[in-house]
């Protein structure tokens, strides 16, 4: 079972690496961040403390961009059908897909964001920004997974996916932005809340995705 999981994860990572879609998500994050200092002016950006919400907004939309592709190709070319008929556990597939999506559209953003924050605002203590994004992007991937699965049969998926997903992302964004702004505070409630959402999400969302994928394939 573990071998199957590793094989699917490797294949997915390779697919993400070779396709433009995952790289597009990271480059979208960088480009959209660049717009904020250009439109606000660098001085205003520092004064109004806009850089952290800007990073979160950019992270959210870059996650949304890659979300559409999560199961689409495997569904279209019939790979999901073969997994299902040949008795490969759907849980392995869903977990592998979520991990590869996060590794390409979550982790790089969490790593790049503190550097961007330092460049744009001069803020050097960005540990909380990294931590909240590290947890937050994983939550965004988990929330997006069942929604991406439910959209498989729909032709105009792009706009629908955005409209359906955004309300579910709001709590994560709110706690994420609040948690990133806290500095030198030992009791950071927002991070605990993000951890709580992540713990629940790890249990609930893959199960939900499996149920949806089975229905969609059938």
């Amino acid at each position: 079972m573990f071998k199957v999981f590793i094989a699917i994860l490797q294949k997915d990572l390779r697919e993400n690496f070779l396709s433009n879609k995952a790289w597009f998500s990271i480059s979208f994050f960088m480009l959209s961040l660049l717009i904020f200092p250009l439109s606000f002016g660098k001085g205003n950006l520092e004064e109004q403390n806009i850089i952290i919400p800007a990073i979160w907004i950019a992270a959210l939309f870059s996650n949304l961009i890659a979300l559409e592709q999560m199961y689409k190709d495997d569904f279209k070319d019939g790979t999901l059908l073969y997994y299902s008929i040949n008795g490969i556990s759907m849980s392995i597939i869903v977990v592998a897909k979520c991990i590869s999506h996060w590794l390409f559209c979550g982790l790089p953003i969490a790593i790049i964001a503190p550097i961007c924050s330092y460049i744009f605002s001069g803020e050097s203590n960005n540990f909380y920004l990294f931590l909240t994004l590290f947890l937050g992007t994983a939550i965004l991937t988990l929330i997006g997974s069942p929604i991406s699965a439910i959209m498989l049969g729909i032709s105009a998926r792009g706009p629908m996916l955005t409209f359906i997903t955004l309300p579910f992302y709001l709590p994560t964004i709110i706690f994420g932005v609040m948690g990133s702004n806290v500095t030198n505070n030992n009791i950071n409630a927002e991070i605990y809340l993000l951890l709580a959402i992540l713990s629940l999400g790890i249990v609930i969302f893959p199960i939900l995705t499996i149920k949806i994928l089975r229905t969609v394939i059938n």
């Binding site: 071998k3 199957v4 094989a7 019939g78 059908l81 008929i85």
Partner: protein, 197 residues
């Protein structure tokens, strides 16, 4: 000695959007049996195969007498990735199925060695189909459900696929295939035809 019963289908009915695709289909398949589902386009041949896999809801009875966890299926969508090479594809599915089958033999049987290192996106439809058949052999399943296995293939490759099916049947496996094509290639004494009108 009479062969063991593998599948019994009784009064199978399938509906799509309240429209009955097919009705009252019954047949039995024994070890080493070949069932050819014939019918025109849109009569529900693929849906019949999907209902046997358990993918589509249906009315009636489908009783598999052996474990149907590992069904060898070949459909219109072949589950191939354009960026992969044929070799990577075979290696991947061998890992997934934890297959002990010698893949070199399969490569030789289907003459895949000529395009083994080419990306799948550059292969022809027939070559892709042969590759999909290679995956079927890797699964080592007793049950083969094949949806239009001969479509898009030249005579030489049609014969090759017919040979693969005959070999499978000789090993006491069962094959249920749908086609609207001629099936003269499959002269097997256990052959039975199910016609969907």
């Amino acid at each position: 000695m009479k062969n063991k019963l593998i599948l019994s289908v009784e009064k199978l009915q399938c509906k799509r959007n309240n429209f009955i695709l097919f009705n009252c289909i019954s047949f039995k398949v024994f070890e080493g049996g070949l069932v050819i589902i014939k019918g025109n386009n849109g009569t529900g041949k693929t849906s019949l195969l999907h209902s046997l896999c358990g993918l589509v809801s249906f009315e009636g009875k489908v009783n598999w007498k052996i474990e149907k966890k590992k069904i060898g299926y070949l459909g219109h969508h072949m589950g191939l990735k354009d960026y992969e090479t044929a070799e990577e594809f075979i290696a991947f599915w061998k890992k997934i199925y934890n297959s002990k089958v010698n893949s070199d033999k399969i490569i030789k049987f289907f003459s895949l060695d000529k395009f083994l290192y080419k990306p799948i996106g550059a292969l022809s439809f027939g070559q892709k189909k042969k590759l999909s058949f290679a995956r079927l052999l890797l699964l080592e399943s007793k049950i083969w459900l094949l949806d239009e296995p001969f479509s898009g293939m030249d005579n030489k490759n049609k014969k090759l696929i017919a040979d693969a099916i005959k070999r499978h049947i000789n090993k006491k496996g069962i094959t249920i295939l749908s086609t609207h094509d001629q099936t003269k290639l499959l002269n097997i004494h256990t052959k039975q035809e199910v016609r969907i009108v």
